[in-house]
C-alpha cells in the first residue's frame, strides 16, 4: 500500500526536544548520519499509540505528532514508505536540499505543521 497525499506520517518526539508546549525544529531536521532522512510511521498502518508503543521498546519518546504527505511535498521534498526495519516504516527524504539553512527552514516548517495538529498521542507520565 503506497502513501497518498493525505497519509499522516507519524513522528516520535524525543523528550528533550519538547519544552513547555514547543517542539524543537531539531526533531524534524535529519542528520547526515541518517543520510538526511527522517524516520516516520505510516499513519495508515499504525495508530499513534501503537506507533509509540512500538518505538519505545528501544527508544525514548514523549509522544507522537504528524505531518501529511502533502505537507512534505509542498516543501519540495519527498516522503515514501521503505519498510526498512519494519512494515510501515517511512522516511521524509531531504535529498537534494543542499544547504544547512535550507534544511533548517524546511524542518522548522514541518515542525510548525506538526505542532498545529498537536500530539496525537502523548505520554503524560
Amino acid at each position: 500500500m503506497s502513501l497518498n497525499s493525505e497519509t499522516q506520517l507519524l513522528r516520535q518526539i524525543h523528550p528533550k526536544w519538547y519544552q513547555e508546549g514547543k517542539i524543537s525544529s531539531i526533531a524534524f531536521n535529519p542528520s547526515e548520519d541518517h543520510d538526511f532522512k527522517l524516520s516516520c510511521y505510516n499513519g495508515d498502518k499504525f495508530l499513534p499509540k501503537d506507533a509509540y508503543d512500538h518505538f519505545i521498546q528501544n527508544n525514548k519518546s514523549i509522544g507522537v505528532v504528524a505531518v501529511r504527505v502533502s505537507d512534505v511535498e509542498n516543501l519540495d521534498i519527498k516522503a515514501y514508505e521503505d519498510n526498512i526495519s519494519f512494515d510501515g516504516h517511512c522516511v521524509i527524504d531531504f535529498e537534494g536540499v543542499d544547504s544547512t539553512n535550507a534544511r533548517k527552514k524546511k524542518a522548522s516548517q514541518l515542525r510548525k505543521k506538526a505542532e498545529q495538529g498537536g500530539f496525537l498521542f502523548e505520554n503524560n507520565l
Partner: protein, 377 residues
C-alpha cells in the same frame, strides 16, 4: 579615655555581586564572625604563651572591638579596625594577642587553599566558625585576605569546606538555591521535598510564611510549575545535602527559566538521543545560563533551549511571523543565527557570531529586538 585603632583585616570581596563595589547586606552576618573568631583565638593564644596562667588578665576584652571602618574605593575592600580603649584595666600589650590571632586566621585560610595543615595555625575547636564565615558566598565569589600581598589567603567555598572538615565537623552549612518542583509536602511536620532538573530530590523544612507558596507549588506539580528555593542548607562532610533547614525565600520561576533548563540538560549522557548525541559541556551550560540570565529583558525574551546531538544547544524564539534559531557551540561559543518569516520566502537572515565577545551578544539582542519591533524585513 583614649581610643586607638589599627587595621586588622582588609578582605577584598571578589565576584559577580561585588563588581559594583558595594557590600550586600546579607553578607554582614558572615563577616561579623571575624569578631568572635578573633577574640576566641586571642584568648587561646594568651594561654598558649602563658601556660602557667589559669585565667585571663582583668580587662582582656575590655574596650576591644572590631569595627568596619569603610569600604575602600576602587573595589569591595572592607577596612576592619581593631579599636582599643585605653583605660585602667586594659594592658596595651594584650593587643598583640588579637593581632596574632588575625595573622593565624589568615594563615589557616591560606593553608586550606594550598591543601596544607590548617590546625598548625588554628586549633580544630575554633574552625566551626567557618560554618558561618563565607557561607553566603556564591560559587563564583571569594574573599581575598591580604589583597595587596603576594601571598594572598583566599576564602572560597572549597577552602571553607576544608577548614570546616579540619575542625572535625561532620556537617557544614551553606546558602543554596534549588530550582525545581515541589514533589511532596507534610503539613504536620512542616517538611517538603523538591525535585530538581537533575532528578535529585532534596528535603527541607518550611515556616508559616512559606506555607502557602510551598502548598501552591505542590498542587501545580503536574503542571510542571517550578520554584526557586533559597535558604540555608546542611551538608554532610562529603558534600551531600541533608536538609534545607531555613528558607529565606521561595518564588515561582518562569517555565523557561534558563538555570532550571540548563541544569536539566547537564544530565544528558553520551548516546542520550536513542544511542546518538554527545553529552553537553557542563561548563558551557553554566556559561550560557549566566550570559542569558544577564541579558533577559522585555527586548530579549526567554528562549526555548534544546540540545543538538553535537555539544551544542539551539535557542528558539517565535516572534510574530518569524522563527529565530540560534545554534551555539558550547565549546567554541560560536553561534549561527538563522531566522525566516513563515509567509515570505524572501525574508531570511543568516549570520555567525562569536558569543565570547560581549559586543556580539549585543548584536544578537538588537536583532531579536528589531524583529519584534518589525524593523527587519
Amino acid at each position: 579615655m583614649k581610643l586607638t585603632d589599627k587595621e586588622i583585616y582588609s578582605p577584598r570581596l571578589v565576584g559577580g555581586r561585588f563588581n559594583d563595589h558595594r557590600l550586600p547586606l546579607s553578607l554582614m552576618d558572615d563577616i561579623s564572625v571575624l569578631d568572635v573568631l578573633t577574640k576566641d583565638l586571642a584568648r587561646h593564644i594568651f594561654f598558649e604563651e602563658n601556660p602557667n596562667r589559669k585565667r585571663l588578665p582583668n580587662g582582656f576584652y575590655e574596650g576591644v572591638n572590631l569595627k568596619l571602618d569603610s569600604l575602600e574605593e576602587g573595589s569591595t575592600i572592607l577596612k576592619i579596625l581593631l579599636i582599643t580603649a585605653s583605660n585602667l584595666l586594659f594592658d596595651a600589650t594584650n593587643i598583640t594577642y588579637f593581632e596574632k590571632a588575625s595573622e593565624r586566621i589568615e594563615n589557616a585560610i591560606r593553608a586550606a587553599e594550598l591543601g596544607e595543615d590548617i590546625t598548625e595555625f588554628v586549633p580544630p575547636q575554633f574552625l566551626m566558625h567557618f560554618n558561618r564565615l563565607g557561607r553566603k558566598l556564591n560559587d563564583d565569589e571569594f574573599i581575598e585576605f591580604h589583597p595587596d600581598s603576594d601571598v594572598k589567603a583566599v576564602l572560597s567555598q572549597s577552602s571553607r569546606k576544608r577548614l570546616i572538615q579540619a575542625g572535625g565537623l561532620i556537617e557544614y552549612k551553606e546558602f543554596i538555591q534549588i530550582r525545581g518542583k515541589i514533589s511532596s509536602i507534610d503539613k504536620y511536620e512542616r517538611k517538603f521535598k523538591i525535585l530538581d532538573g537533575r532528578g535529585v530530590v532534596s528535603h527541607g523544612v518550611f515556616e508559616d510564611k512559606d506555607h502557602e507558596m510551598i502548598s501552591d507549588a505542590f498542587l501545580l506539580f503536574e503542571k510542571n510549575a517550578k520554584v526557586c528555593v533559597s535558604g540555608l542548607a546542611r551538608f554532610s562532610k562529603h558534600g551531600k545535602l541533608i536538609e534545607i533547614e531555613r528558607i529565606e525565600s521561595v518564588d515561582f520561576i518562569d517555565p523557561l527559566d534558563v538555570f532550571a533548563r540548563t541544569e536539566e540538560l547537564s544530565t544528558l549522557k553520551n548516546g542520550w538521543m536513542n544511542g546518538q548525541g554527545k553529552k553537553l559541556s557542563k561548563d558551557g551550560l553554566s556559561w550560557l545560563a549566566k550570559e542569558l540570565n544577564s541579558k533577559i529583558s522585555e527586548d530579549f525574551p526567554l528562549p526555548h533551549i534544546f540540545p543538538t546531538t553535537d555539544n551544542a544547544v539551539q535557542l528558539e524564539w517565535e516572534k510574530e511571523d518569524w522563527s529565530i534559531e540560534v545554534e551555539i557551540n558550547l565549546e567554541s561559543k560560536g553561534c549561527n543565527v538563522f531566522a525566516y518569516k513563515y509567509n515570505d520566502d524572501n525574508a531570511e537572515h543568516d549570520f555567525e557570531l562569536n558569543l565570547r565577545d560581549p559586543k556580539e551578544w549585543e548584536v544578537l539582542s538588537k536583532f531579536i529586538k528589531d524583529i519584534e519591533a518589525n524593523v527587519i524585513e
